[in-house]
């Protein structure tokens, strides 16, 4: 049996999901859906699977997340819904409940954060609430597991007995809205039955103006006109337009129910504490300095105090292991080709990617703590303004910033951007934030060609990347991501201590996901590059990579790079090998061009080359991460090609302009 978990953002849904499933959850995609849902068997309840739906506030068809939730419940017909509610913020949370109840699926309400409600002198009449809503209500505290077993009893009961919510009519008797809804239900009842939809839910959707439902119900023009007439009459009588009238109806019912069943707590400790913290963290003069301080701490922890050294250590370890294995294989008399595959292909390829792992662990630990405490929402609040002109919101700021550390976790962290459109756009922009793996390239060239201004030139490259990202955002905004961005109307939740369990599970998710990719896509790609580097066209093993297929390809497509000033096959080959990891660009140049490889360049072509390496395709690990988030090979390939094209155009522009001066 399937149990769907539905609720607002920040109501403790993930904590409850973790309580229900323990660590045996996995991520699954449902057909036709790009937003993924986590699934897991419920502990202590045989044959029950919990599905964690996206956190939403309403079932209107405006955001991807809302559509996913709605379609999941309508199409997959879960055996039960657990509607999780934040007891400290009950009014707004109940708004979604009323809409869920219209779907007529067995539902149990999990009233979360009851520990906080009680601690602050509040109380909720559970039976009264249950009666008012017509569904079982179970008080829980997801963070410490309180009330979970009772919740499971109720869930298995309603699912096994198909116990539908007793009420779904919240429109207040004899109000204009009441008359309108019931008239529409009456009109579409037969259509809804034929289409297998709930008449009441469909009626609400028609009043909201959801044209998809008008089609599903196969209404004819005459009927549509009659319905429109009903709605207009309701609008005239109530003095509110349809959308406001619906919201007003739901909130009126909620206000009444809350007045009857809830003794609101006095201002909670958590809230007071949040306001105090916010006085500093979002204060007029302190917000930006505190933000810089926090982010700087995260970067220092990740890239120099913990993650960086661990990465280096792991790198050294892998190198040592690789050397050991090489000698062992040599002693054993292993075929040199297989030896090269293991040492140059698998070890150097996967090894270089694996050494990212400590970085990712530390960075995600920091970011997930910032997210779970509620600070990320504040970052979005502080940083919204500068990103708005780009068609993004403050939510995208952190992933873009992380891009300067490494594109892989940046793409992965874009998951916190709640709207699908903004997330995809953010991911497309992150590769333009120059990552540290490119620094060796920048250093080698700037030191050779402009030793005095080396650092200035590198800063210039970073800025150039940002400028291109800005232009790209503006172009994307008016092309691929045209249309209204998702409104930036966002809750600022109370600061809460993150749960160790949730943080741990999230971290494990990211790590296992990364490892899986390292040993599949990335391993595959590095083996292919090794193969191209190690064999010639007659499939003979070459000692010197100048005779390899890769070099041949490099020679073949070198012509494309001639207008950029670096049509030499050795340079082109190094760019291709840079796909496995940017560090490989320099090592390949050294192998093919010798110690003094910068002699292959002039100042003009060196600048052009730097611009090209700044902008062209990110490394295979980043591409794999992008593919994971977009869930589409074609979209990912499109992004890679697009980046290469942009890189070519910009390098060409720089080279041409350079011709005027140099």
């Amino acid at each position: 049996m399937i149990v769907a978990l539905a609720g607002n953002q920040n109501c403790g849904k993930t904590a409850l999901f973790n309580q229900l499933t323990g660590s045996n959850a996995h991520v699954g995609n449902f057909p036709g859906v790009t937003v993924e849902s986590k699934m897991g068997e419920i502990k202590g309840l045989r044959d029950f699977t919990a599905v964690d739906l996206p956190g939403i506030y309403s079932l209107r068809p405006y955001t991807c997340e809302e559509i996913v939730t709605r379609d999941f419940i309508i199409r997959e017909k879960p055996d039960a819904i657990i509607n999780i509610i934040d007891g400290t913020n009950i009014e707004r949370n109940l708004y979604l409940t009323l809409q869920l109840l219209e779907l007529r699926v067995p539902t149990v309400m999990a009233l979360n954060m009851m520990d906080e409600v009680r601690a602050n002198g509040g109380s909720i009449d559970i039976e009264g609430l249950s009666e008012a809503l017509g569904i079982p209500v179970v008080p829980i505290a997801a963070i410490n597991g309180e009330g979970i077993s009772e919740l499971l009893d109720k869930v298995s009961h309603v699912a096994r007995h198909k116990q539908l919510p007793e009420k779904y009519d919240f429109c207040g008797s004899d109000s204009p809205m009441h008359r309108c809804i019931h008239a529409v239900v009456h009109m579409i009842q037969d259509h809804a039955d034929a289409a297998g939809l709930q008449a009441r839910f469909s009626a609400t959707k028609l009043i909201e103006g959801d044209s998809e439902f008008a089609e599903k119900l196969e209404l004819d023009e005459n009927e549509k006109e009659l319905i429109e007439h009903c709605i207009v009459q309701m609008e005239n009588e109530s003095g509110l337009d349809r959308n406001a009238a619906l919201a007003d109806m739901r909130y009126a019912f909620i206000e009444q129910t809350v007045a009857e069943c809830v003794v609101k707590c006095h201002e909670s400790r958590e809230h007071r504490r949040s306001q105090k913290i916010d006085r500093v963290l979002t204060g007029k003069y302190t917000a930006v300095p505190m933000f810089l301080l926090i982010i700087a701490t995260v970067f220092v922890l990740t890239f120099s105090v913990i993650g960086g050294p661990l990465s280096d250590l792991l790198g050294v370890g892998i190198d040592a292991l690789s050397a050991r294995v090489e000698t062992a294989l040599e002693h054993y008399g292993m075929n040199p080709v297989v030896r090269s595959l293991i040492v140059d292909g698998v070890f150097s390829g996967v090894g270089s990617v694996l050494s990212f792992l400590p970085l990712i662990v530390v960075l995600f630990l920091c970011l997930s703590v910032l997210e779970d405490t509620g600070y990320m929402a504040r970052v979005a609040f502080i940083m919204d303004r500068p990103l708005r002109k780009l068609g993004l919101s403050g939510r995208s700021f952190v992933p873009l910033l992380v891009g300067f550390g490494c594109t892989v976790p940046a793409v992965m962290s874009a998951r916190t951007v709640s709207s699908d459109r903004d997330r995809k756009m953010t991911i497309m922009l992150t590769p333009f934030m120059s990552c540290p793996a490119k620094i060796p390239i920048y250093l080698a060239f700037t030191l050779a060609f402009m030793p005095k201004y080396s650092y200035l030139a590198i800063v210039g490259l970073y800025v150039f990347g940002i400028v291109i990202a800005v232009i790209m955002a503006l172009v994307l905004k008016s092309t691929a991501f045209r249309g209204k961005p998702v409104p930036f109307v966002m809750e600022l939740p109370n600061y809460r201590l993150p749960s160790l369990k949730s943080t741990g599970l999230l971290l494990w998710d990211k790590v296992s996901d990364f490892l899986k990719r390292a040993f599949t896509v990335i391993l595959g790609a590095t083996v292919i590059i090794w193969f191209l580097q190690s064999f010639d066209l007659r499939l003979n093993f070459v000692e010197d990579s100048s005779g390899s297929i890769l070099a041949l390809v490099g020679r073949y497509i070198a012509v494309v790079f001639k207008p950029l000033g670096f049509g030499d096959w050795r340079i082109v080959t190094s760019l291709i090998s840079g796909f496995s990891a940017k560090e490989a660009v320099i090592s390949t140049l050294e192998v093919l061009g010798g110690e003094n490889f910068t002699a292959l360049f002039t100042l003009r072509s060196a600048v052009s080359f730097l611009v090209f390496t700044l902008l062209y395709t990110p490394c295979v690990a980043a591409v794999a991460a992008i593919k994971r988030e977009f869930n589409s090979v074609w979209a990912t390939a499109g992004i890679v090609v697009l980046q290469c094209v942009i890189a070519w155009i910009m390098a060409f522009a720089v080279y041409s302009v350079g011709g005027l001066f140099l």
Binding site: Y57, S58, R60, Y62, T63, T88, N89, E91, R92, Y95, E208, L240, N243, A244, L246, A247, D248, Y251, K264, S274, D278, T282, G283, K284, Y285, A287, V288, A377, A380, F381, I382, D384, R385, P386, R388, K484, V486, P487, F488, V489, M490, E491, L492, P493
Partner: protein
């Protein structure tokens, strides 16, 4: 007056909610409905967006969107 014209600390009662499409629905869904009380808590450091208290929780929205909401100022210490 408009919601974005409130000063930090001032409370008001919502009169009408303007806008259209996704934005308007989102505002209504989040509990910004006529006759509800709202308090402006603060502005972001760059002056935009704003943070409001509504129905017992904090919400942030952009000035541009807040200007679509008309409100009536409540006397101090109420709401």
């Amino acid at each position: 007056m408009k919601l974005d014209e409130l000063k930090p600390g001032q409370s008001a009662k919502i009169l009408t909610v303007g806008g259209s499409g996704a934005l308007r629905c989102r505002l209504l869904d989040m509990g910004i409905t006529p006759k509800t009380n709202v308090k402006l808590i603060k502005r972001a450091p760059m002056g935009d967006p704003i943070e409001i208290l509504i129905r017992g929780y904090e919400l942030t929205l952009r000035n541009e969107d807040a200007s679509l909401i008309t409100v009536e100022l409540l006397p101090e210490a109420v709401g």
